[in-house]
Structure formats: C-alpha cells, structure tokens
Symmetry: C2
Subunit: 374 residues, 2 copies
Amino acid sequence: PERLIDNVVKFAHKVEKLGKDDPRRIIHSIKVGLTLSLVSLLYYFRPIYGGFGSSTMWAILTVVVVFEYSVGATLGKGFNRALATFVAGGLGFGAHHLATLAGDKGQPAILWFSIFLLATVASFARFFPGVKARYDYGVLIFILTFCLVSVSGYQDDEILELAHKRVTTIIIGCLTCVIMSIFVFPVWAGHDFHNLIARNIEKQADFLQGFGDLYFGTKGDTDMSWLHGYRSVLNSKTAEEAMANFARWEPPHGKFRFGHPWKQYLEIGAMTRQCAYRLEALSNCIIPDMKEPSEFKKIITQSCMEISIESGKGLQEISSAIKKMTYPFTVSAHIMKAKNAADDLHTALEAVTLENTNILEDVMPAASVTSLLI
Amino acid sequence: PERLIDNVVKFAHKVEKLGKDDPRRIIHSIKVGLTLSLVSLLYYFRPIYGGFGSSTMWAILTVVVVFEYSVGATLGKGFNRALATFVAGGLGFGAHHLATLAGDKGQPAILWFSIFLLATVASFARFFPGVKARYDYGVLIFILTFCLVSVSGYQDDEILELAHKRVTTIIIGCLTCVIMSIFVFPVWAGHDFHNLIARNIEKQADFLQGFGDLYFGTKGDTDMSWLHGYRSVLNSKTAEEAMANFARWEPPHGKFRFGHPWKQYLEIGAMTRQCAYRLEALSNCIIPDMKEPSEFKKIITQSCMEISIESGKGLQEISSAIKKMTYPFTVSAHIMKAKNAADDLHTALEAVTLENTNILEDVMPAASVTSLLI
C-alpha cells in the first residue's frame, strides 16, 4: 500500500506539472466536457423539435472527433467533416438510386463495385502529401459516409429523411465545437506559432551571447542548461508545419489579419534550424579543452567574443521585433559590428579557423532573417 | 481546354510517380477497397445470421478508421478501438443503470454530470505524452462510446442487445482489418524502420567518402545531389518515433523476433542525427574557396582525406551490418585507421583546425554506433 500511495503522489505531481506548464490544457478539457454534455442535451429535446432520435448520436460523434486543442485545428476538422459528409452523401445517394434502377439482381453488384472503386481511389488520394496535410480527415469521412449511405437498405425517400437528420446533427455538432473553441477561452494556433518562432530565435540569441564566455573561459563554469535551449529547435520542423497548417484555417484575430504570411514563418523556421545546426557544431567545441588557452586562442578571443555577442544581440532584436511585429531597426547595426569584428579577425589570421568560419556563417542567417521581415 | 489536358497529364504523372516510389501504396489502396466491400457484404447476410441491421454501420466505420498503411499501425488502432469500446461500454451501461435507479428527475442530471466529468478527465489524459503517443485514439473512442451508451434512451435490456450487436460488429471490423493487413501483402512498419535506419547511415557514408574529393578539389565539380542525401536525416525524428511506435505493436515476423530492441534503433537514429548536424556544418565549408588551395590546406589534405574516407567506410560497414543483422567485424579496423590519420594530423599541426576537429568528432558517433550494436 505504501508503494501505491507513492505512485499516486507521483501521478498527482505529473498532473500538476502538466496543468502548470500550460493552464489552457485544463480549460480545454473542461470545454470538451461542457460541449459534449450540451450536445447530449439534444436528445432530451425530442418533444419540442420533432426529435432527432438516434441521430443525436452523430452530433456527439462529431463533437468528440472534431473538437481539437486549437481553433485552427477545430475549424479545419469541422470544415473537412461538413464538406465531406455533404459531398459523399450526395454521391452515395446517387449510387444508391442508380443501383435501385438496376433491379434486384444488379443492385448489390453495382453497390459492391462502386464501394470498392471509391474506397480504392480515395485511399490512394490520401498518399498525396498535399491531401495528407490538409484533407486527410475529410477523405476518411468521405469514404465512410459514402459507404453508409449507399449500403443502407432503405428506400430512396427514407434515405433522404435520414440524410437530412444526419446532416443537421453533424452541422449542429460542428457549429457547437467551432463556437465553443472560438468564443470560450480560444487557443489560437497562429498565436502559439508566432510565439514559438520568436522564442526559438531568442534561445539562439541566449546561446550566442553566452558562448564566448564559455568557450574562452572568461567566466567560471556555471549552469549550462540554458545553453542548450536551442536544441529543441533542431527537431521542430514537423511541429511547425502542423501549426502553420492550423493557423491557415483560423479567421483573423487580434494582431493577425487576414492572409497573414504563415508561409514566411515556415521559412524563418527553416533558417532558424539551419542556424541551430551550426550552433550545435559550435557547442561541440566547448567541452574539449577548457584549461590552458593556446597562443592561437588568445589571438582570436577578442574578435570572436565580439562576433558572438553582437550576433546574439542581433538575434535578440529580431526575436523581440517578431514578437511586437515591428521592423527591427537596430539589428543592422549589430550585424555591421559583428561583420566588422569578423573582418578584424580575418586580417589577424592567415589561416581560416574554426571559430571564424562558423560564426561568420552564423551571421548570414541572421542577416537573411532580417531581410525576410521586410 | 488545352490547359485542362495539360493539367490532367501533369496529374497523371504525379499519380504515376507516387505509385512508382512505393508500389505498396497501390496495393494498400486496393486492400482497403476490398476490405470495405467485404464488410459491407455483412449487410446482405441478414436472413442467415439473425441480421445485424443497422449495426453493420459500425463494422464499416471501424474498417474505415482502423485500416492503416502498416501492420503495426492497424494493430495498434484495432486494439485501442476494441479495448476502449469494451471498457467504455461497460462503464456507460453502469452509469445508465445507476441513473435509471435515480428516477425520472434524477436521471438526466446524473447522466449529464457523468458525461461532463468523464469527457473532461479523458480529454486531459490525452495531454500526457505517453498516452498521446500510443493511446490517443483509444481515449477518443472511450469518450465516444461512453456518451453514446449512457445517453441512449433505451431500456437496460435493449441496451444490452444493442451493445452485443455493436461489439460483435466492431470486432468483426477489427479482425477483418488485421487479417487483411497481416496476410495480404503486409507492410511491416518494423521492416521499413530497420531499412530507414540503415539507409540513413549509408547516406552519411556516401557523403563522407565523397567529401574529401570535393573539399580538396581533387575531382571536378560533378553532380552534387547525392551529397545532400543525408539532409533527410536532419528532420527524421518524428517519423522515426512514429515508426518505432508502430513496430512495437507488430507480432514477430521474418528476422524480427519477439521483443526486438526497437528502442535501440531510436538511439542509433538519434546518433545518426547528431552526426548529420556535423556533416551539415562540414558541407557548409565546401562552397567558399574551391580555387586556390592555401599552403595550410595542402598540409592537411592527406590526413583529412584519409579520415573522411575511412570513417565513411566504417559507416558503410555499419549500415550493411545492420541490414544483414550481423556483427560488423571490420569496422574497428576502419575506425583505427581514421584515428591514426587524425593523430598524424594532430602532430602535423599546432593549432586546432576546422577540418580536424569536425572530422574527429565524426569518428566518435561512428564508434558509439558500433558499440551500440554489440
């Protein structure tokens, strides 16, 4: 029993941490609970509104599947679901009608073949990268709805009534989700994405500003963990792409107007990653010899420190400019200073050295990020 | 109309390419089509087997949602679905029964509250990274089933019959998927994963073996595209983790026995990525000065070429050893040679130079990969 209590305590701490890291998670969970119980109330409206009967099920199903963490994801899924249901319902009804005309013998054969054909083609479509990224869920629902409608053994007019009810409940489900996610403590994917990009650049700025001190040993070995903050950037590609996808679904909100250039965010992200690869290479040089600085090292110390600190400051500027969405006026000054220091270094040395080339290249992405911001 | 034809031709080429890149995609699509039409036949079995009636729907729904590209993914989803349906069905029935006892007034309140509570808790559980990775789908189905069962306005015994039918059809759906995916042209995620890891290492070996020639300009500037094959490794983390997840669901097959160490594959993958970051830094040094080799460059040419080629050969060995699942006996020889060359370089130079440090560090991951293979 002691071990049990131990585990329970551990679990509670985990839950607490998860909630503290991002309190919006708790709010989101409560939102899902509320929406679901709201929708399930539909069932009790039977006497007033003709009654949806067992079609209420579809509203519940829709809410469970469509409600996502961010507004963009919810909108995207809701849109996919509504459109796919509508189109597939129409097609399925057509197939069913056609099959009925073919008589009792032909009907199963036609239906069977049409399901086979449609499912095969649609499954293949899911392999297209473009479809996969934005419409994967829609295609799934498309196959599903088509099968359900065309196979159901009802008469044509029965189907129409059923379809009417289902489409209504699905749309009610979608709308409830969308309204809840937009108007009750919304979590904007675009907003998160924006901050993520800015924070990633900031992490690199931190690294660059601290790198000089560490490498040249002018400061004692203190806490190193902040140094590797930039490492999360290395593997952020998939997350960034997903967020950009969601962000594109979102309506204008706050400082993000319609047609916000999310694609450029991806480009900045890619550059940030390029820069992170270089930082990774740089940070690998820190550990080896910390004790006695060689003659060579002493020569380069001054300029290298300056390059690293100035490019760090430049990145910092860029990051805060992105956050505030202003033009980073002072960045070019920092980059100029870094470039000058690099030139000094160049003249001081004949041979190209490790620190020099790498940091020079670090300045380049910084410069291009700036130019991207226009 | 000409433009239309143009677009159609373009589209056809795209489809062709997609199919040629991996013919298993076409087979997979046909498999989905077949499975779906098979399951929809259930509907016609009405007279023989008491009839599933509208419950056939659930079999179709299951197939559409559960059938995935690889065996592991299908098994994982099928397992999630079956288990979640079963547990949630039981809980839902309990809640429904309890609510019935509370009388006409209390029933809606209890149901409403239980749905709210369960949906909130379950939604929150989806934020746990462990749950998210393996049981995300199961939790979704759990919420769904619980809502459907507890809200349905049926009598207790009606529910039981309905639940029986639904569970049967869902299990039929899951089984059909699993059987189709395992026995008809299976796509093993584990197999793909294994090859991916080996191929990634091979790409790096290619790069290292070609790097020397390019950097020191002993060979003319030929086709460069093969050189950047390793770039796909940089962002492969998410894909690798997903594959490892799927692979863990798969039963033993071929040369992969039960309890295959997929986790170690992930570690090798992480090391390969570390190595790729360094290669990225190296490849950035290729472009700048191709023309006149400096005095300094001439000194290091010999040893650097040897380091790069020997570590390339070492990686090649490792890659083919992984492919064949044998112990790479000859690798240590290559690594020794590379290390010797590095020592030569060290003695030849006082100052630490770019090529030296980076390649030295390249040898390290190669060595650790070897040791991981045991």
